[in-house]
Symmetry: C2
Subunit: 356 residues, 2 copies
């Protein structure tokens, strides 16, 4: 009789194994060097191992520690890696909340697929996060400090030891929680604080993403190669790169966040909230982007009191369009949004865009 | 008096620190499962740590072991990583030899720059490899077994613990040596061995690289996102993807190797050795590719005995050109070349290209 192929185990967050650490770390104060370092994590982490032979193993919540990675591991050579950015908030009612975690779960599964990493039922992600927060939430987001949050970083890597160029045969999903500076606590510019966000338009010789590429997936491969431009922009006083694409220099996204502009339409004179479309797969389908669009479509498209109605449009537009609108005084505002740089309601900020 | 900024230390392979292991590993036999796994390394590895604050630290040759990587490390999230592929050969005169190691050193420095990783004087690479081979060479490439080789994998990763999207502030260069199957030892197809290399032309909806991207650099970011297509090609009996680009579907490279074709020129009827050009930075400037071109230009461009002269041309050509030449019987041969899949003299192999 032939042997029956064993079915691969699916991820099952309900059976998570918990190992608590006894040497708890100090919780850094808001604004402390530890918090500003973006490198100081909470006491525990989630790990879930996967193998091509057996599928997902039992998820673990265990003491935070460095990962032991074979020098031959796929993620170190072939960028078989993807991630998500989320936040968990302590509410004024004492409860912990995630912001649309299923959107992040779905996107992580989509990114994993693009990187040849294993899939799972996307709603397992929020269950794993809940398990981690059951352990670390009470101490790292105290109930008497409502409004505080932790940055969450779910990530998946190919960590098998096979150096040949091939689809990963082993993988690790891990989730870490990181105290993160609160952007709403920054001093306003008038009080000597940070200026409005400055974006530097990318040069035509450097392109972040391309149709048929992977700009729509949250892969490590979208970030490392963009850091040269990012570093150059920061060195001359800008915050991020505004990535353009194509001979007509379409505005796409800001690399770590989606870009919106509110202007008077050149032809109709009507107010428009505009952002780049998803269809050509050049930009990340941001969770905050989606919420901005949903809220604006729900609340801003009808005139309300003294507020004029705003048309909400996802369409291609170019840096020349922005430049022209700027010269003609048609720009009302512009902003970027993303998990790391915005609050759950997006952190609107003045933008200075450099058409060059 | 103002303090003077300390200068960053350059990489200095001459001062390498050696820590020998005492529990030496078994050297796998040719064709053994260990060798075929592409994951079994020699006893030692080279590591060189870099920090933005101090530059390169003292290089080390030390026992091979897993790397301890912070879960927040840049290389796991943002693909700040690049690598090289090389081989070290035991010669019939008993000496160990590298194949044009300075070409790999130069390319590693170029790749590192594209990934915002630190640079170094490229000829330090071969000195570090020599140090590693002084320790592991005698046992892993015995003098009485000339012709054997080890695959060498120098790699650089951003391994600092800062999760913010920024240029790496810490990095690690490491070099490992891996016993690798000898492609020249494979049985020929007529004797029941592997068929000639089969390449599957990429679909228009998936591209490997684009102008203004990083296809010319040996970044992890070029590999992970290509594995979906690679896996699909392998699942239906092909060995690699032949990556096309643009509306006219230009032939670029095979992902893990460069592609050459020998055909009769449609217009002149003369023999041509053709490969994609480097100018648009879509393809990797292969070390073997360069050697093939140099040798062909030196030895094949004049008629010699019964051999017709061959023109050697780096130019754009399309999959339609290949298809047409195939139908008209003008293709003489085609081959791929690269370090991992070829011998020092390129391993010529029959190709079946699928124009679809």
């Amino acid at each position: 009789m032939g042997s029956v192929a064993p079915s691969l185990a699916e991820m099952d967050a309900s059976v998570v194994k918990v190992t608590r650490r006894t040497d708890l770390r100090d919780v850094p104060l808001p604004g402390s060097p530890e918090e500003l370092s973006h490198s100081y994590c909470t006491d525990h982490m989630v790990t879930v191992r996967w193998t091509a032979a057996a599928g997902w193993e039992t998820p673990e919540v265990r003491p935070f520690e460095n990962l032991s990675v074979p020098p031959t591991a796929s993620c170190l050579h072939y960028a078989t890696e993807c991630f998500e950015g989320m936040k968990v908030y302590r509410g004024y009612d004492g409860k912990l909340r995630l912001f649309r975690p299923d959107c992040n779960g779905e996107r992580l599964v989509s990114s994993a697929q693009r990187a040849s990493l294993p899939g799972f039922k996307f709603d397992e992600l929020k269950v794993l996060i809940a398990k981690l927060m059951q352990i670390d939430g009470p101490r790292w987001l105290p109930k008497d400090q409502p409004g505080r949050f932790l940055y969450l970083r779910p990530a998946m890597i190919g960590n098998g030891p096979h150096l040949g160029v091939q689809t990963p045969k082993e993988a690790l999903l891990f989730i870490i929680a990181v105290p993160w500076p609160d952007p709403s606590k920054k001093k306003p510019e008038a009080a000597g604080g940070q200026h409005g966000l400055k974006l530097l338009a990318s040069n035509p010789d450097t392109i972040r993403a391309w149709p048929g590429g992977f700009g729509y997936a949250k892969l490590g491969a979208n970030y490392g190669p963009s850091l040269v431009s990012h570093g150059k922009a920061q060195a001359i006083g800008f915050d991020q790169v505004l990535w353009l694409f194509g001979e007509d220099r379409q505005v796409t996204e800001a690399g770590a966040s989606n870009f919106f502009i509110v202007w008077e339409n050149k032809d109709t004179g009507k107010l428009e909230l505009v952002t780049a479309p998803l269809e050509n797969q050049l930009i990340l389908p941001g969770v905050t982007r989606r919420s901005v669009l949903e809220l604006a479509r729900k609340r801003l498209t009808q005139s309300s009191g003294s507020l004029a109605p705003v048309e909400v449009v996802e369409k291609q537009f170019t840096i020349s369009d922005v430049h022209e609108a700027w010269k003609e005084g048609r720009i009302v505002e512009a902003f970027v949004c993303g998990t790391a740089v915005s609050r759950a309601t997006p952190y609107l900020t003045q933008i200075w865009s450099c058409p060059c």
